[in-house]
């Protein structure tokens, strides 16, 4: 589960707006990764057995566990790597080309 709000990209009018040191607040996220995706994982909830593997193994943490049986894909940050679909034993996740969604 992500617990941050998207931040606006900073606009600097003068050097006083530039952060002190080479620092920035943690979890300061302005840009999504959705544009990286070629294939989109699409979940068929009727086949999901709640094994948690897609949620466990997503390198982007983009599959959120809402409860023990409901897993939601955050398409803003999913890169479409396909690990979830490959690991899903019951075949509840299929990879669909973005332009065919």
């Amino acid at each position: 589960m992500k617990d941050f709000k998207m931040s606006p990209r900073p606009l600097w009018k003068s050097l006083s707006d530039v952060p002190m040191g080479s620092s920035c607040s943690s979890f300061h996220i302005c840009d999504t990764n959705a544009a990286w995706r070629v294939f989109r994982p699409v979940m068929d909830y009727s086949l999901c057995i709640g094994c948690h593997q897609c949620y466990l193994l997503c390198p982007d943490g983009a599959i959120h566990k809402e409860d023990a049986k409901v897993f939601r894909i955050d398409y803003d940050f999913c890169k479409g790597c396909g690990i979830c679909a490959n690991q899903c034993k019951p075949g509840a996740i299929s990879m669909v080309k973005e332009d065919q969604v």
């Binding site: 050097l15 530039v18 040191g21 080479s22 607040s25 300061h28």
Partner: protein
């Protein structure tokens, strides 16, 4: 209560550090800095300092550990010299870019090869562009006092820049002088506990440090750092004024003049050689020669305004360099000369290179420098106390 003791420069620095109550010291031994870290270790091992002493395996890690501890807001000290400074040099711009208020003693020493353990200022010049405040002290008392002042300067939220205190190897680090050790209570009231800067890591508002910035952001980060560094002049003077009120001693600001107001010729010095030069100025004055002296305490930030004001209308200025930038000239000279030119100085400038690898700089050498200035004779760059012809 203050007390007097005979201390060498290393011990004076160690006392300055002890009185400043750092949270963390990370250091690796190197001649001629060793006595400072030995003294600090014994303070810690005897329970006289409440401080984490990290026995690191290299200077590179000494600086890296210092970066770690300073980035969570701990008051941090390290010390090194020569090859050690060069080995940790990757970490220096790292620390200054991150605006970490680390204080370091650098026992000035020559650079190999040939190997040589004695004092010159080649090491400090190698890292002049590292973004650290570079301060040079003249004696053990100034070394002790400037450790305390340096923490106050570095930790000031307008400054937040690491400070390197340059102490001439052997001439200062190993020479005993009578030093006043201020009382702890007085130091505590002058230098209170560090106030954590908001950009550092903390539990309430987690921070990402030493981040990447692309070509659309990098330059602004660096220009901000550069412009903030000029604030050091005013802060250093104000800290020294407060210091004088508390301790009854003043060391001045970025540069200090000696019999310079009406001088025809002026010698610019850094560090311990200033003492010898002062004696020569006095004896020349007795002979009716209008000689003067300007001691540069800061090389970064570079005090262009102060320097021009102190040098004023002297007909010729000599810059004594205990270093050389191969294929060019002494580095202090490059800085002074450029800054005087910008200010419209019309006199002639000379560069006197001396004291490399611990070679003595005698009163006679300094007299020769003044006579070169008075007669305005010879090459712009001259070498002193050479053992053979060029």
């Amino acid at each position: 209560m203050s007390e007097f003791a005979f201390l060498n420069g290393n011990e004076a620095v160690a006392w300055g550090v002890r009185l400043s109550r750092p949270h963390v010291i990370a250091a690796y031994p190197i001649t001629p800095q060793t006595k400072a870290v030995e003294k600090l270790s014994s303070f810690v091992q005897n329970g006289e300092m409440d401080c984490k002493y990290l026995h690191v395996e290299s200077e590179h890690s000494a600086m890296a550990c210092s970066i770690g501890s300073s980035s969570v807001g701990a008051r941090t000290f390290t010390a090194t010299s020569s090859q050690g400074l060069l080995y940790m040099s990757e970490g220096l711009p790292y620390a200054s870019g991150a605006r970490l208020p680390i204080v370091m003693m650098n026992a000035n020493r020559s650079i190999a090869t040939p190997w040589n353990i004695y004092g010159d200022q080649m090491d400090a010049m190698h890292v002049l562009n590292s973004g650290w405040v570079q301060l040079f002290v003249e004696d053990a008392q100034e070394a002790l006092d400037m450790v305390i002042q340096s923490f106050k300067l570095a930790e000031n939220h307008d400054i937040l820049t690491p400070v390197m205190i340059n102490v001439d190897g052997f001439v200062l680090t190993h020479t005993y002088e009578k030093v006043e050790i201020p009382g702890q209570e007085l130091v505590d009231s002058f230098l209170p506990a560090i106030e954590k800067a908001p950009h550092l890591m903390n539990d309430q508002d987690p921070m990402s440090l030493c981040i990447s910035a692309g070509n659309q952001h990098y330059m602004e980060f660096k220009i901000k750092q550069h412009r903030d560094m000029f604030k050091v002049f005013e802060q250093l003077e104000s800290i020294d004024r407060d210091f004088e009120k508390s301790f009854g001693r003043s060391h001045g600001g970025a540069a200090a003049g000696y019999r310079n107001e009406d001088a025809d010729v002026i010698l610019v010095t850094t560090g311990s050689v200033t003492g010898t030069a002062r004696v020569v100025v006095d004896s020349l004055r007795e002979q009716g020669i209008k000689a003067g002296l300007v001691k540069l305490r800061l090389l970064r930030p570079f005090p262009s305004d102060d320097l021009f004001e102190l040098i004023g209308k002297a007909g010729a200025v000599g810059i004594l360099d205990k270093n050389i930038s191969f294929g060019f000239e002494g580095t202090v000279y490059t800085n002074v000369n450029s800054s005087l030119l910008q200010k419209g100085y019309r006199g002639r400038t000379f560069n006197f290179i001396a004291g490399l690898g611990g070679r003595d700089i005698t009163k006679e050498n300094i007299e020769e420098m003044f006579s070169a200035l008075l007669e305005q004779k010879g090459e712009t760059v001259q070498y002193f106390n050479m053992g053979c012809a060029l």
